[in-house]
Symmetry: C2
Subunit: 123 residues, 2 copies
Amino acid sequence: MKRNTKQGKVILSSIKSADRPLTPFEIHQLAVKKMPRLGIATTYRHLRILSESHQVVGVDYPGQPPRYEWADGLDKVHFSCRACNKLYALEDTTEDSPPAKAPKGFKVQGFEVMLYGTCPECE
Amino acid sequence: MKRNTKQGKVILSSIKSADRPLTPFEIHQLAVKKMPRLGIATTYRHLRILSESHQVVGVDYPGQPPRYEWADGLDKVHFSCRACNKLYALEDTTEDSPPAKAPKGFKVQGFEVMLYGTCPECE
DNA sequence: GTCGTTGCAAAGCGTTTGCAGCCTA
DNA sequence: TAGGCTGCAAACGCTTTGCAACGAC
């Protein structure tokens, strides 16, 4: 986006204010609270732009809808609960270096780790 | 599936014979070569069943279509090339233990690692 | 005033479902 | 032969696109 619109601010702030990755629908619901006539298409348009400019990052997991979260520059570790399907963003405890090596010729620029199991609520 | 049908065998063998995760469309294309009248719906029905019975596992990455690969029982490390979008299945070099720790209360049962960067072909 | 951005509605696309006929056990 | 499985086509839900009006610069 070249222009600084109210819609763009509302959408980005909705993503920033969340403490976990949100689906496009959830993001739109949050944003609509602040701007009732905001269209879902505008939400998708901003999500695409934000993700292309690396201000937000997508988090996908098989069988679940795509989610987005604010990109704070850190590599990400997520936890997916098999019981309740909730997705948590964890502190990165991998201490800088990628958690796995790639064969010769592959240039690693970043990584993402997904843990799965059961969360405290579903214990 | 309770019955051992030709369609089921063709679909599973198509997945097994690939050396990388395939999209439902790619799987259907491979299977159709061996069984021309095979429907895409049947492919999706088997993918769901195979994945529920953990014979195949889904691999998702933001902005890309979902993919499936044969589950050989190992935890998975994948490499996604930012240039050509190809997805590679790598040997697991994380030596058994999960590559990140989860906070107290989270019970970790498995993990998945995604590396991204550029592959040898796109160097 | 220009032209990038928006909201709405329609189109698009991958996936799922309904159903009559087929085929395995 | 019974009923699970299949192919086909229609339905579905999420995402994208077309377009006229709007509003940031």
